[in-house]
């Protein structure tokens, strides 16, 4: 793969002439802007950038990006993206999916793209609802969600996207929400990560699941309920009056009070993005007793799928004859000349 040349662009260069068709006030607008703001900062080249999506509100995303874009079929975007990346490893691929697309119909493909570690950024817009099909509950909807298909409230246990990703073998797990000002930073870290980078983005579906994330995303009191993780920094929130420590007996995280800013005394742990065990605890951390963990939860690259494929092809081809005529005549052959047969 060639090292990408940095290109100078502005936000405008990433906008298409297509009318954006999300409902007014939908969180998707903010995510679109965040991505369009981030790409110029990365020096990304629109001609080399490719957005691939499945089906759903979020999956309309590629139409609004002045890049290459492929709006595919429900749940299967990871498979299309894998094929495209293997065919052209130089493409900078962003995958856009949702909670229904990525975790219901496409859960299998999401699992495999993550475990294979195909180099791309995977943005899962989690709005905990089916928007495009008019409001049915989704695999991430909370228990008791009333929807047209669950008029009495849902009773299945929700999937947790970040925990799913980590469990599937993801080497990068990030989290943000539509209007968070830190979202571009998470996107940048995901882009810098070589391999499949999974970003769960909480997204407000103003029509069918309005403000469902307000418990942690509402601006008022946000600092008490959001823990923005930074590599090498203590896990502090609530204006550094609280932090997370490791309960070494129960082997779980615990919220502790930090007195006078002395987080070391309180036993607050320092975020190490390569610590997979802590990452598992962070994605499992229930919101309520704990703050919502946001930012880069885990980032520990390892060799990517397409690199392995390229290397294998090179190894397998070494010293091999690529003459098609010879290939066709492989194995035991014989010649017919007139009437007699002679083994070759």
């Amino acid at each position: 793969m060639n090292a990408p040349v940095k290109i100078e662009t502005t936000l405008k260069d990433w906008e298409t002439d297509q009318e954006v068709r999300w409902c007014p006030g939908c969180g998707d607008y903010a995510i679109l802007k965040a991505v369009q703001r981030t790409l110029p900062q990365l020096g990304a080249n629109p001609a080399n950038t490719c957005f691939i999506s499945g089906i759903g509100c979020s999956s309309r995303f590629p139409y609004y990006m002045e890049t290459y874009g492929f709006h595919t079929i429900h749940g299967r975007a990871p498979a299309f993206a894998t094929g495209a990346k293997l065919a052209n490893p130089d493409l900078d691929i962003w995958l856009v999916t949702g909670d229904g697309d990525g975790l219901s119909i496409g859960g299998n493909h999401l699992m495999h793209v993550l475990r294979r570690n195909v180099n791309m950024q995977i943005m899962l817009f989690n709005n905990e609802i089916y928007g495009l099909t008019k409001g049915q509950y989704s695999p991430t909807s909370r228990e008791g969600t009333k929807s047209p298909s669950t008029p009495l409230g849902s009773y299945d246990h929700p999937a947790r996207p970040a925990a799913f990703a980590l469990g599937a073998g993801a080497r990068f797990v990030g989290r943000g929400f539509d209007v968070s000002k830190n979202l571009p930073e998470v996107l940048k870290a995901a882009h810098a990560h070589q391999g499949a980078a999974f970003i769960e983005i909480f997204q407000n579906c103003i029509v069918y699941n309005k403000d469902v994330f307000d418990d942690f995303a509402a601006p008022k009191g946000a600092e008490d309920r959001q823990l923005w993780l930074e590599n090498g920094k203590p896990m502090l929130f609530a204006k550094e009056t609280k932090g997370l420590t490791l309960d070494r007996d129960a082997l779980c995280l615990k919220v502790v009070d930090v007195v006078d800013g002395d987080w070391e005394a309180a036993g607050v742990i320092v975020h190490d993005v390569t610590n997979r065990s802590i990452a598992h605890m962070l994605v499992e951390m229930p919101f309520g007793p704990f703050p919502m963990a946001l930012g880069v939860l885990y980032d520990d690259p390892r060799p990517t799928f397409e690199t392995a494929a390229i290397e294998e092809r090179a190894r397998a081809s070494e010293g091999k004859d690529t003459n098609l005529a010879k290939l066709l005549a492989k194995g035991q052959t014989w010649t017919v000349s007139g009437t007699a047969q002679d083994p070759v």
Binding site: P62, A79, A81, D90, N108, A316, T333, W334, S337
Partner: protein, 623 residues
């Protein structure tokens, strides 16, 4: 004594059918494969039929664990594996029981008495030993203890009893090679190669082979065992090898990608009997082939489409149930007009059906089986060698017309082997893929050139635009799109127009005129086939014609779109008979296309048609 006339082999027959049958663990497929190779080297024409159970390791000695390999070889053109064997090699009672019915009266049974124990007879549900109770009187029986003879032959190599008995198939093969006067040299060489890290095993197998051969020589003067000579067939001069359908499809795809000047991306998922193609291609990386074993059938086709989108020739392959799963993605490839080759190695259906048996029952699925108006070219190969040509043709149509193409083969073709005159790649016209590199639309108000991703060429194909190309950024997807810009369009007139364009593009694919492969262009009866029924139809029509019957054979490669002259051709016959291994699907398609009174002849037993069945049907139709 038997009343039916015996038809024992003469000393110099035109053609011979041999069936090797044994337990799944007896190595019958390998035996058959090596016998095939020696037959090819002897210059006979041949056709084979591997017939094995769906179970990987069925319990030993059971009726459902029987694995067989049939070969028909001769000094004349051979198109089928033969209706009835002249020689049946039965390695155990179950193999005898399962295969006896098809043996010709007067045919030769070679049986291993070492396996005809009480226990094995019970497993095969024989009350008494058929070798001793006189029930085999209408055949010649040559029964002796192959097991013991093998153990004796390999004794010097110090193998355990189990390993020694593994050489039984080589002993039997040695005997068969003697019987048909074959050179053992290539096989000994092959054994040395195969077991090069285990020279003991190689030596033991060679010793067994030689012992079987020597047994034939010394036993010749007594009993029914005689040497038989089958003369070489007169074939076109040139270089030959044997090939199976799965190999031929794989090689054809590689050749097709080269002719298109494209790297190939193959997405597959394990399924019987299609996996063989994935296995072959996985070993051809040096030819620019990337193989990807996906997480499921859907991902396999989606990854292939993704690769086509990025500029490779995407290929996927499966069998009926897997093809069903790929349906939605085919629709996307049709909608986004990307090249793709889909290979369907058909098997018995529906559902899991008969995974290891053959059928042609996915024709409706191929032609009609998608949501919406989703036209897609369908072509079918008729024999292992033909699969090479058809695979190239599939690649050509896909690339030239920017469309997915379905290639139909089947379990029989996939596994069967035939001699193949090695083609010269230089004799094929290349069809290099063209990628758009500059904007192709008129200037806009600002005088800048515009991009029209759906502007069509004279064939109706849209341009292929690789992501990564500067200035040609655009979006495609499954939602209906504007006929030029490709932008989302819900406009009713545009959808009508696009539906017409998609259909027109496929309808207008250049397809060569249909030829008559045997007989005249008009007459009393046309037997019309497609796919692997070619061999039996061809032989049956040939025999009927020799009897003076007015019958011709037409075999269709291009199922959709059909050759333009096919309707007129069929209307030139009083009757049209369509034999196929399904309940009459091609018959329906022909009626739909041409309003001709095509009559079905159907068979869905998992076994190919016999020549006799077809001959009887021809005679019936002309009676």
């Amino acid at each position: 004594m038997a009343t039916q006339a015996k038809q024992p082999l003469t000393e110099n027959p035109e053609a011979v059918v041999v069936r090797f049958a044994g337990d799944s663990g007896d190595g019958m497929q390998l035996t058959g494969g090596q016998f095939t190779l020696s037959t090819a080297l002897a210059g006979n024409d041949l056709a084979t039929f591997p017939d094995f159970p769906a179970e990987i390791r069925a319990p030993q000695g059971t009726l459902f664990g029987v694995s067989a390999f049939q070969i028909n070889f001769g000094s004349r053109e051979i198109n089928t594996a033969g209706d009835a064997p002249d020689v049946l090699v039965a390695m155990n009672p179950a193999a005898l029981k399962v295969n006896l019915a098809s043996l010709k009266p007067g045919g030769l049974i070679i049986a291993d008495t070492g396996e005809f124990s009480k226990r094995n007879l019970d497993k095969a549900k024989y009350g008494t030993n058929p070798l001793e109770d006189g029930s085999l009187a209408k055949w010649d029986v040559l029964a002796f203890d192959i097991s013991a003879l093998t153990i004796e032959a390999v004794k010097p190599f110090g193998l355990g009893n189990k390993d020694a008995l593994r050489c039984k198939n080589m002993w039997t093969l040695g005997l068969a090679l003697w019987m048909f006067d074959r050179d053992r040299g290539p096989l000994q060489e092959w054994l040395r190669q195969k077991f090069r890290t285990k020279p003991d095993i190689a030596d033991a197998n060679i010793a067994a082979l030689d012992a079987g051969h020597a047994y034939g020589e010394t036993a010749e003067l007594s009993g029914p065992l005689r040497q038989v000579h089958v003369d070489p067939v007169a074939s076109d001069p040139g270089l030959y090898r044997t090939i199976t359908g799965a190999e031929a499809v794989s090689l054809g795809l590689v050749a097709g990608a080269q002719l298109a000047e494209l790297p190939m991306f193959f997405g597959g998922y394990p399924i019987t009997p299609a996996s063989a193609i994935l296995h072959h291609l996985a070993r051809l990386k040096e030819f620019g082939v990337t193989t990807f074993q996906a997480e499921d059938e859907i991902a396999a086709i989606c990854a292939a489409i993704g690769a086509s989108y990025a500029g490779s020739l995407g290929v996927t392959s499966s069998s009926g149930p897997g093809i069903a799963l790929k349906g939605e993605a085919m629709g996307l490839a049709i909608m986004t007009e990307l090249p793709l080759v889909i290979v369907n190695s058909q098997r018995g259906g529906p559902s899991t059906g008969l995974p290891t048996k053959t059928e042609q029952s996915d024709l409706y699925q191929a032609v009609y089986g998608r949501n919406g108006d989703a036209p897609m070219p369908v072509i079918a190969c008729r024999s292992p060698g033909d699969a090479f040509e058809v695979a190239i043709e599939a690649c050509r149509i896909a690339v030239e017309y920017m469309t997915p193409v379905m290639l139909l083969t089947d379990g029989y073709i996939a596994n069967a082997a035939e001699p193949w005159k090695v083609p010269d790649p230089a004799n094929y016209t290349p069809f290099p893929a063209k990628f758009l590199t500059e904007k192709n639309g008129p200037a806009n108000d600002d005088g800048e050139a515009t991009l029209l991703p759906y502007k069509r060429d004279e064939k109706g194909a849209r341009p292929w635009i690789k992501p990564g190309t500067p200035d040609l950024m655009h979006r495609i997807g499954g939602i209906e799109k504007d006929a030029l810009t490709g932008n989302i369009s819900y406009d009713p007139a545009n959808h009508q127009h696009m539906t017409d364009l998609r259909k027109g593009k496929i309808d207008n694919i250049a397809v060569p005129d249909q030829e008559v492969c045997l007989g005249e262009t008009s007459g009393k009866l046309a037997v019309v086939g497609w796919g692997s029924t070619y061999g039996p139809i061809h032989q049956a029509v040939g025999r009927a014609r020799r009897k003076g019957l007015d019958v011709s054979h037409i075999h269709v490669r291009h199922i959709s779109p059909m050759p333009a002259n096919l309707g007129d051709l069929l209307r030139g016959f009083d009757k049209v008979l369509v034999p196929e291994m399904n309940t009459g699907q091609f018959k329906t398609v022909l009626r739909d296309q041409f309003l001709v009174d095509a009559q079905p002849l159907t068979k869905t037993s998992g076994q190919p048609f016999t020549i006799a069945e077809l001959e009887a049907a021809i005679e019936g139709a002309l009676a």
